[in-house]
Every structure is written in C-alpha cells, then in structure tokens.
Amino acid sequence: MSVNYHDILAATSLRVNGLLGADVDALEAAYIARPLTTAQFNSTIFPFSDFRTAILSAEQKLAQVIALSNDESQRAYLMTQTAALSSGDALPKLDSAEAPIIGPYGAVMDGVDPAIVCTLQPVQVVRRYNAYPTLWPVPVYYFAIVGNRIEHTRTTVVLECPVYDYGAQVTAFDADGDMVLADGLMEALICGGISMLVRDDEFMEQAKIYVTYFNDTLESFKVAKAA
C-alpha cells in the first residue's frame, strides 16, 4: 500500500478550505507537505484533529461494511488472527493483539500448523472425536461453532478475524502511516471524510454530495454480499 493518511488529509481539508495558501504556490506547498501539521492549516471551523476524526470515522465505517461483506479480497486488508483457542473456549471479541474484531470470522486453522484449514462439522461429530481420541489414529481437522463457543478436534485452533483498532489508526494517522484499506478506496475515504465535515450550516451542500459518493462505495459491498 502506498496511500498515506496525510494524502487523504490533504485532499479532504482542501475541500473545506482548511489548508493555508494565500496564493497558488503556497497552497501547493501546503498540499504536498508531509507530514502535515497544524502549520499547514488555517481553518477556524474545523480544528486540525477533527480532520483525523472525520477520516478515521469514515475508514472505520468502511472497514465495518467490508468486514461484514463476503468480499474476501477486501476483507484480507483487515484480517488478523485470534489467540489460540482450546476446544470449548468462548469466541473472542479481540484478536491476538487485542484489536477489536468487527465482523464474521474467516478460516479456522490448526493452532500448531496454521497452514492447515479446519472444516466445519456438526458439533456431534466433533464431540464424538474428542470423547474417544484414541479411536482415530489419523488426525482430523474439524470444528463446530455453537452460539459463542467453538469445539474442535485439535489441541488449539486460531481463527482469522477482521479487526479495526481505532487507537492504533490514530497513531498511524499521526505518523502519516498507510491507510488500512486498499489503495482503490482512497477516493471513498476522502468522500467519507468530507461528508462528515459539517458544522452548523457550513459546507452542508457539499457534504450532501460527497456522502452520496461515499454511500455508493458502502452500498457496493452490500450489493456484492447480496449477489
């Protein structure tokens, strides 16, 4: 990925007259400065930190929709793994790095050899295996999820899971790190950020336009899931 947060910040803040620039050259200098700091900003409507909130909120919303979609290529940008789970453990809310899980789990992998993907079975089959493990000399890689519990036939398993950690992204944003999602979603982030930059009646009409652009992207993931 090569799209940094401050590329989005520049594009977003420009559209609400947030960047300094008394003339063309000054505006260009502010636009391309990296990292961007308060030195490049002059808005009295939106404080510098509010741009970050708007952009990360848009990213978070987009990440949530992607996490709930069945677009595995986009979900891959959000995927991490849970900690190792024993059979009977509760499904976690956080991944192994304690980032919040925001969507359905992906593959279930053997905890010892994560290259081996387990297959879903009725819980009765899994329980039968676990009740008499010596009956089955050849290992099987089965799991069942019932409610918020997982049962499986391995010592431990790990689950793929989509996460979004707002705190971590604040840190990444401040350091002008990479956006979490695919480069192709840069435009959506810009539109999403601009759609949130409304204060009283300032930029209201513009926000209405940009929110439709943003919603188009959100909707595309929902449509893909329904198809």
């Binding site: 089955w136 000399p137 050849v138 089965y142």
Partner: protein, 192 residues
C-alpha cells in the same frame, strides 16, 4: 502403504460417482469402518482357496493341558482351514485334524490322530495324536498354529499396514464402497 495413505486413497476412491458434498469429510467414517472391512476382507480371502494364503499367519500357542487362548486376530470362522504343528516334532502336523463339534472332539473316530477345536470366541482345545481327550489334562507345550487372521489396523497414521498388496487393494475397494452404502458394497462384491 501407511494407514494414512490407505485412508487418503480410500476416501478419494469413495468420491467416485457419489454425492460428494455429503462425503467430503469422511475420514472419521473411514476409520470407523476399517476394522470391520479388514475383518470382512480377511474372511472373504480366508474362504477363497486361491487367496487364503494371503491372510494366513503363524501363531505360537502356549498350550496347557490341551487348552490355549487364540490370538484375537484369528478368524474362528476359518479355523477349519487352519493347521497345527508341533515345533518339536515335524511329523505331527499331518496328523492334526479340525473337528466341528465337541462330541467329535472328545470321542474321535480315529484315536491315532490329534484334533483341535475352538470353544467360545477364543479357547483353543487340542488332543495330541495318539492321546485321547482327558478333561483337565493333555498336551502342555508350544504348538504352531497357521490360521486365517485379520491384519492389524495400524494405530498411527504413519504405521505401515502389515498385509499383502492384494489384501490392501481389496480392502480399499470394500471400504470405499462401505462409506458410500450397501448398494456400492454389493457392486464391489459382485466384481471381486
């Protein structure tokens, strides 16, 4: 061939012509059926004079007063085709005869011969040639039994199946058919 390889091949064979989604994760089913299929295949071979030798094994029987315990792998249903020899006297083997009934065992037609019979699931009884049956007494020592036996089902994935290739091939077909259902077993039986 290891047990793991045997199961992998069998499971793939079972997918042929079957409604696949219901069978894709069949390893536990295959492992469950393997002992039965080994037993079934061994019995089939044991009853077939052209294949019996493939499933015959030698066992040393520790006989005390004419009684010994059979190894659990020996197929009692095929004991009539077994032979018993005295490792200390090679002339004894051709004088030992299987009998089907206890009456025949204790009152043999020819008392110059030795006889053997199995009582219950695994109690081997014998009389030595020339020695009549005496309750609680009789031959004591080791005898060599050559009998149809079920090859052992390996206890690990990596363990090799200790059986001839023809047995393994047939067991594989029976197992694949058993996984799919009785109608498939009948087809394999007809072709065997």
């Amino acid at each position: 061939m290891t047990y793991g390889e045997f199961l992998a091949l069998t499971c793939q064979i079972a997918l042929t012509g079957a409604p696949q989604p219901s069978l894709l994760d069949m390893e536990m089913t295959a492992m469950s059926l393997t002992p039965r299929v080994f037993y079934y295949t061994a019995e089939k071979f044991g009853l077939d004079i052209t294949k019996r030798g493939l499933v015959q094994q030698d066992f040393t029987l520790t006989v005390a007063n004419g009684v010994a315990t059979l190894d659990a792998s020996v197929l009692v249903s095929c004991m009539k085709y077994a032979s018993v020899a005295d490792p200390a006297d090679s002339t004894i083997a051709n004088q030992m005869r299987w009998v089907d009934s206890w009456n025949e065992f204790i009152r043999p037609l020819d008392s110059d011969l030795g006889y053997f019979i199995v009582v219950g699931s695994n109690q081997f009884n014998m009389t030595y040639p020339g020695s009549p049956y005496v309750p609680g007494a009789g031959f004591t020592g080791n005898m060599t039994l050559t009998a149809v036996a079920v090859p052992a089902v390996p206890t690990t994935e990596e363990a090799t199946i200790d059986a001839p290739g023809e047995f393994i091939d047939q067991a594989m077909l029976f197992l694949a058919a058993s996984i799919k259902g009785d109608s498939w077993v009948k087809q394999v039986e007809a072709a065997a």
